[in-house]
């Protein structure tokens, strides 16, 4: 990966050098989504991300209110894919570790949510989702400890085994988890305040679909706000150092294993939340919902997005939502029956993974970013080119 993103590695090297000073942190972090330093945004990281958060929230409300109920549910789907992909891109893109087990971690979050919602007097939804995060985090920490010592194909194989193996537990403990059929999930009730909010904003009907979409989007915004700040913090810089300059980082006294476990834990937490949102949106937690194809779909999303970019992960997730109906329709038009046409989406994921790795390993966002960077470097003087390298994107 590192040589595909040589500008980032240069920046990361610089970042480790002046790690103690926080003022340069934003300028040195190469892979965060909003890093082009547009002039109307505040320069330092936290305020800038807060502005982006508020703007995104406003945009999201507008989107949710002008779109149809079907599109609302698509946005809900998008939000759980994007939450999981955001966590995965931190792991794979920033820390250089691959995971095919994120589907299983999502399952941990989904089953937890299903179990808690099953109670006669369910806890408040935020608490339940927090529990989903905690459970997935614990599982993720266990996996992460094992994974920290692995790399490349070994890690891929081990997490593949996780993806295939973990659903077996749901079947084995079928009294608790409902076996192959899985667990029906009771939809959480929208609070009254939500109804009056929607009434005031748009006068729309505050349906339960809409409520779930709002839940998804809120979780998504919080997750990305958190991840974006993390990526630009010292933690993020250390991750990139671990990825790009393993030996140097080790010599500098960085405990590689601990940092890798931390990356796994963070991304597992995101997967747990994604699983929780999935459970309430789909209203079902079943082994068939967490197949290997789910994990590979997430991988596709972050590869398209250009490993390591949150914006890319979001765009990639959008593709996971909007592509399947599109290609399925296309397939039906070409005379495929329903089940055959449904397979076109995974087929496209696979082809996209292959083609992306062969022709544009930096991904969608990464390729554009690289283009812009080389163009800038070519235009500017040597000094300007150096600045572009340090700004990174």
């Amino acid at each position: 990966m590192s040589d595909l993103q040589s500008p980032t590695s240069a920046a990361a090297g610089k970042a480790t050098d002046d790690a103690p000073t926080t003022s340069t942190a934003g300028a040195n972090a190469p892979s965060a989504p909003t890093g082009t330093g547009r002039s109307f945004l505040p320069q330092s990281t936290l305020p800038r991300h807060l502005v982006v958060l508020v703007l995104s929230a406003v945009l999201a409300v507008v989107l949710l209110e002008v779109s149809s109920p079907y599109q609302n549910s698509q946005i809900a789907t998008l939000s759980y894919y994007a939450i999981a992909a955001g966590g995965l891109t931190v792991l794979t893109g920033m820390n250089g570790q691959i995971s095919l087990g994120h589907g299983a971690l999502m399952a941990a979050g989904a089953y937890t949510t299903a179990l808690f919602l099953d109670a006669d007097e369910p806890l408040p939804l935020p608490v339940i989702l927090l529990a989903a995060i905690v459970v997935a985090t614990v599982v993720g920490a266990l996996v992460g400890v094992a994974a920290a010592r692995l790399h490349g194909p070994y890690l891929a194989g081990a997490t593949l085994a996780l993806a295939v193996g973990l659903p077996g537990l749901a079947i084995y403990f079928h009294d608790i988890f409902g076996g192959e059929q899985g667990m029906r999930v009771r939809a959480p009730q929208a609070p009254d305040a939500f109804e009056s909010f929607v009434q005031t904003v748009s006068g729309n009907n505050a349906s339960s679909t809409k409520w779930l979409a709002y839940v998804g989007v809120i979780c998504l915004l919080i997750t990305y706000f958190f991840l974006a700040n993390l990526v630009r913090s010292r933690i993020g810089r250390t991750w990139r150092a671990v990825r790009d300059q393993e030996v140097a980082a080790e010599l500098a006294g960085i405990n590689l294993g601990a940092w890798r476990v931390l990356a796994f834990v963070v991304s597992a937490a995101a997967a747990g939340l994604a699983g929780g949102v999935l459970a309430i949106v789909v209203r079902l937690a079943a082994p068939s919902g967490f197949t290997l194809v789910l994990s590979l779909a997430l991988l596709t999303a972050i590869v398209i997005g250009g490993l390591g970019s949150l914006l890319g992960a979001l765009l990639g997730s959008a593709l996971l939502v909007f592509l399947p109906p599109f290609v399925t329709n296309l397939g039906s038009d070409f005379g495929l029956n329903g089940t055959e046409a449904a397979q076109l989406a995974p087929f496209v994921y696979g082809v996209v993974l292959i083609v992306a790795m062969i022709f544009a390993p930096a991904g969608f966002v990464g390729t554009i970013r690289l283009r812009r960077m080389t163009a800038k470097a070519r235009r500017g003087s040597a000094a300007q080119a150096k600045a572009a390298g340090a700004n990174g994107g």
Partner: protein, 294 residues
């Protein structure tokens, strides 16, 4: 005691299929340092080709030969067209490419052959032999499985040990650059290696299908079991892969046979074994090289 023997025999019969599949992974790993996660899908594809022929009235043996040949072609093609551009690049890229191939082929199988379960024939009986008045789970089919894997392995050993092509393939696998300097056409050897590995993978796909059901994802667990078996053997060692497959087959058979509702736990057990081996002996149980990093 009888039960134990039965479970053991079942384990060995399954295990030898894992061995074959692991061997295919190892052949590719040795020559290109790539784990071919698409191998299960590739094998499933050739099995479905065989099934289509059988359903069209061809004999099992014709279907077998066609499946193995198409496995070879598929493997060689995959190496030339898809793997060559990422060979020697960052290891994550190769991993992602084979994963992409894995989903793409599996989806393609579903599109072409359908997603439903279809029964796959076996040329021999599935009734166990009688020993001293009781039936053991050793069937003519399991003898066929064991026999064909052993014959395949013997042929591979002969190829690598006693032929010039085999020597060239080994030289290419161990040291590409030196082999090229000595005039060995390394690219061709890699293609050949992928083709042969795909033949072995296809064979294990056909064997696991025999007498059971196939559907596009029926090899998913075998890719995991094959990977675990190969890791037990150290990923670098053909002999290790074979022994690893047998060990895994036995272990999973005992889980299945002695744990209540153990069949649901088989994949979990494989996961546990994998983690333990990777953490305790990352180089595999049989590796002579000590300082290999997982």
């Amino acid at each position: 005691m009888d039960y134990f023997v039965n479970v053991t025999i079942t384990g060995l019969t399954q295990g030898i299929i894992y061995s074959a599949f692991a061997l295919a992974l190892v052949l590719i790993w040795r020559s290109t340092r790539i784990v071919n996660f698409a191998q299960g899908s590739m094998a499933a594809a050739t099995t479905f080709i065989a099934l289509a022929l059988i359903q069209a009235g061809q004999s099992y043996w014709v279907a077998l030969v066609v499946a193995l040949v198409s496995g070879f072609v598929l493997g060689a093609l995959v190496e030339r067209v898809i793997i060559r551009p990422v060979e020697g690049g960052p290891e994550l890229n190769a991993v992602i490419v084979t994963l992409g191939l894995f989903v793409a082929i599996q989806a393609l199988i579903a599109i072409i052959f359908g997603s439903s379960f279809q029964s796959f024939p076996t040329p021999f009986g599935v009734r166990g032999f009688q020993v001293g008045g009781s039936t053991i789970p050793l069937t003519p089919t399991s003898l066929y499985v064991i026999g064909s894997v052993l014959i395949t392995m013997a042929l591979l050993v002969a190829l690598f040990r006693f032929t010039r092509v085999g020597l060239a393939m080994r030289a290419s696998a161990f040291s590409q650059e030196v082999a090229r300097l000595l005039g060995v056409k390394v690219g061709g050897m890699l293609t050949l290696g992928w083709g042969l590995a795909a033949v072995v993978g296809s064979l294990s796909g056909l064997l696991i299908a025999g007498g059971g059901f196939v559907y596009p994802a029926y090899m998913d667990s075998l890719i995991v079991f094959g990977f675990v078996a190969a890791i037990i053997g150290g990923l670098d060692s053909p002999v290790g892969a074979i022994v690893g497959g047998l060990i895994l087959g036995l272990a999973l058979s005992y889980v299945n046979g002695y744990v209540e509702r153990g069949s649901a736990l088989v994949s979990v057990a494989a996961l546990v074994i994998l983690i333990v081996v990777l953490l305790v002996r990352p180089g595999g149980l049989f590796s002579s090289t000590t300082a290999r990093r997982a």
